[in-house]
């Protein structure tokens, strides 16, 4: 489903606004339209189906409660719901015992690969594809640092440990990486 086309974005605003007025059918439709995407994100962050399901429940309960205060001039609906999902998942992740830490298969190596092809294949949204194009301008480990910050909520200290780099290096990577993304995406 191409969720980010203009029509879809307007449909999501409509569904969210009607949910905010107490329309349960609109809320069910909003869930239908968005839950697979948000559940995919929850799985990517939490790596466990039971935890991702728990997170997604919390997310939609929160969306229902906050729908009345959503303003269309603010972040797009999908950005708003994505941010809620990410925050809830990262909170859950931080509450887990340390054994839940990343194992090798989950270390976001796809972002450190020279070839972002597999990521591009998974990405149908044209704006996200543009972001991937901009990410190609970064060094592989720099990309990985940004992905680990976003998907695992890692702070500079954790990134330094995970990537076996001095903390100053990691900070510089992130700062310069964000500057590159700013000028690349700002030019789009």
């Amino acid at each position: 489903m191409a969720l980010n086309s203009k029509d879809t974005a307007e449909t999501l605003i409509l569904l969210l606004n009607r949910s905010g007025q107490g329309d349960r059918a609109a809320f069910a439709a909003l869930y239908q339209a968005t839950s697979a995407k948000l559940f995919g994100l929850a799985l990517r962050i939490l790596h466990r189906r039971d935890l991702a399901e728990e997170a997604i429940q919390d997310v939609y309960v929160k969306i229902w409660h906050h729908a009345p205060s959503y303003r269309a001039d603010k972040a797009a609906v999908m950005t708003w719901m994505t941010t809620i999902t990410r925050n809830r998942c990262l909170d859950l992740l931080r509450s887990l015992p340390p054994e839940h830490g990343l194992n090798e298969e989950q270390s976001f190596d796809e972002w450190a690969s020279d070839d972002l092809g597999p990521l591009e294949k998974a990405t149908s949204n044209s704006e996200a594809r543009a972001l991937l194009q901009c990410m190609k301008q970064l060094a592989p480990l720099q990309r990985q640092a940004i992905a680990l910050s976003y998907f695992q909520g890692m702070a500079h200290e954790q990134l330094a440990r995970q990537l076996v780099q001095p903390i100053g290096t990691v900070k510089t990577w992130i700062r310069r990486g964000l500057q590159v993304l700013r000028s690349c995406m700002g030019a789009l």
Binding site: N4, R24, A28, Y31, S35, A36, K37, F39, G40, L41, L43, R44, A52, E53, I56, Q57, Y60, V61, W64, H65, S69, K74, A75, A76, M78, T79, T82, T83, T85, R86, L90, L119, A122, T123, S124, N125, E127, A128, L131, L132, I146, A147, S149, Y150, F151, G153, A155, H156, I174, R175, L178, Q179, L181, R182, M185
Partner: protein, 236 residues
């Protein structure tokens, strides 16, 4: 730090959106965003771009039990669509009513000193109690004499003192709109909070809640910490 440089604003917004801006710097940033539209716009720009990372993830349809659970939590639970603090408030009201009876009856009163003083001052009082019915403060709303009403607050011996934290008092309006901060509560002794006239009427119909906040109060204008005490203004 100088906050008027666009490069600084941009970098802080980017780090905020990515999540690497932490601690006090993050709180300061959130505070600035609330005050300045250009900061808000810049942050929205970054949140939207950074959130595109989520689009590189494969979508997975959740099991149908997930929707059933959401539906049950929202529409079939006894608390229905109430916020958690309102659900709490319901449970607390019976407890406060009982304590109120104890307080205004001197023969039964275990908390002699604060009550004798306050009972003569106002006709509207509230007792804020915690989940185990231990009262933390007694509030007295003075009769309107001028534009401003005054809420007198006396902390009680059974209050759980929180070192390095503040207790903030919130009005939960009866129309279920967002909580409104009334002010910080003293952890010992007494204080007096002035109440704007437009809030005074709502104070009588709404519920009261006290959350634990960083020193100086909630940085966001909404409760951020645990709600430990609840109560409601009663007429005596």
């Amino acid at each position: 730090m100088r906050y008027d440089k666009p490069e600084l604003r941009d970098m802080l917004a980017a780090k905020y959106a990515l999540g690497t801006l932490r601690g006090a710097a993050r709180l300061r940033f959130e505070h600035l965003v609330l005050q300045r539209e250009d900061w808000q716009n810049c942050t929205d720009w970054w949140l939207m771009r950074v959130s595109l990372l989520a689009d590189t993830v494969v979508a997975v349809k959740p099991a149908s039990s997930v929707w059933r659970d959401i539906d049950r939590r929202l529409f079939h639970a006894s608390s229905r669509t109430r916020h958690w603090w309102r659900t709490l408030a319901l449970g607390f009201s019976a407890v406060s009513a009982l304590l109120l009876v104890l307080l205004i009856n001197p023969a039964l009163n275990p908390l002699q000193p604060p009550v004798q003083q306050t009972a003569t001052i106002g006709t509207h009082i509230a007792l804020l109690a915690d989940a185990s019915a231990q009262p933390g403060w007694l509030l007295t709303l003075s009769e309107a004499q001028s534009q401003q009403q005054e809420l007198r607050v006396a902390s009680l011996p059974s209050l759980q003192v929180q070192a390095d934290k503040a207790y903030e008092l919130w009005l939960l309006p009866a129309d279920e709109s967002a909580p409104v901060s009334i002010g910080l509560l003293p952890q010992q002794g007494k204080a007096s909070l002035s109440i704007k006239p437009e809030l005074a009427a709502q104070l009588l119909t709404g519920a009261l809640a006290v959350s634990v906040e960083p020193p100086g109060g909630s940085p966001s204008g909404q409760p951020t910490g645990a709600v430990l005490y609840q109560g409601k203004i009663n007429v005596i």
